[in-house]
């Protein structure tokens, strides 16, 4: 058993009735403005992502530099200490 609701219609739509709804120019303008809007959003998203990537790289670089600056602990051993015991 179908979920279709079968209806009877005496007459089909006339060509004129259908032509009334035809509007390629309107559709074309809508499509191009949608596309522009879509590509605008895409551009904004790309800029945000690129900025985030740059910030992340800068933060990572700064961190690495700070790690390098930590002085390496060295024992102040006197090279002549061994002679002192003598």
């Amino acid at each position: 058993m179908t979920k279709y609701d079968i209806r009877l219609r005496r007459k089909a739509l006339s060509k004129g009735q259908i032509e009334r709804h035809k509007d390629f120019k309107g559709l074309y303008h809508k499509e191009s403005s949608d596309r522009r809007r879509g590509s605008g959003w895409f551009r904004i998203l790309a800029i945000v992502l690129a900025t985030l990537a740059i910030v992340a790289m800068v933060v990572a670089g700064v961190k690495r530099l700070q790690e390098k600056r930590v002085p390496v602990e060295q024992d102040d051993t006197d090279i002549f200490d061994e002679f002192k015991t003598e």
Binding site: M1, T2, K3, Y4, D5, I6, R7, L8, R9, R10, K11, A12, L13, K15, Q17, I18, H21, K22, F24, L27, Y28, K30, E31, S32, D34, R35
Partner: protein, 192 residues
């Protein structure tokens, strides 16, 4: 478009699509060629002129957005539009869960003749067919609709419904037989 699209038509269409892929302003001849048939197809499913106009616009909008993906694979561009239209109609009906099929006089005659279902009165024909079709499943109705109301060939129907051609053929003959059996049963009950 008619099923018997000849080679020249296909070549013309291919050229039109190639141009439209470069610049969508050239989509207009394709739009003009298919607008009426897609509108009628959607209208038959919605039975509402304004809804049909909206859905038809969506179909062409989607087609324009995705035209770069279209490639000729043995079925005309129209079949691709029908596939988009079927998907749009399904989306529209997803909430209401009940699809429409409006039967027009001259289309009914074609199904009745093909199924050898003779009925003298045109109005009676419509009523009988509506009664019989109600008993079929959704896919069988879709196939009959595309075959008899939209004049599509099996290859195109298979493409539109995303099925195998052999499966479509089998289902179509089975549903015509079903219609015939039910029609005979109905007549027998009427005689008794």
């Amino acid at each position: 478009m008619d099923t018997n699209t000849d080679r020249n038509d296909v070549e013309d269409e291919e050229a039109m699509i190639a141009l439209a892929k470069k610049d969508l302003q050239h989509f207009e001849p394709i739009y003009n060629r298919y607008y009426e048939s897609i509108f009628r197809y959607v209208f038959r499913k919605t039975d509402d002129e304004d809804v049909a106009a909206d859905l038809t616009s969506k179909v062409f909008m989607n087609a324009m957005n995705a035209i770069h993906k279209f490639e000729y694979r043995g079925v005309p561009f129209g079949a691709w539009l029908y596939r988009i239209a079927a998907n749009e109609a399904n989306k529209y009906f997803r909430e209401s869960k009940r699809q429409l099929l409006a039967l027009e006089d001259h289309k009914v005659r074609m199904v009745m003749n093909c199924g050898n279902l003779e009925e003298a009165d045109a109005e009676q024909k419509q009523k009988v067919l509506a009664e019989l079709i109600r008993e079929l499943d959704d896919e069988e109705i879709q196939i009959l609709e595309l075959k008899f109301f939209e004049n599509k060939n099996f290859k195109e129907i298979a493409f539109i419904l995303e099925k195998k051609e052999s499966a479509v053929k089998m289902k179509m003959y089975r549903s015509l037989n079903k219609l015939k059996e039910r029609y005979e049963k109905m007549n027998k009950l009427g005689d008794d």
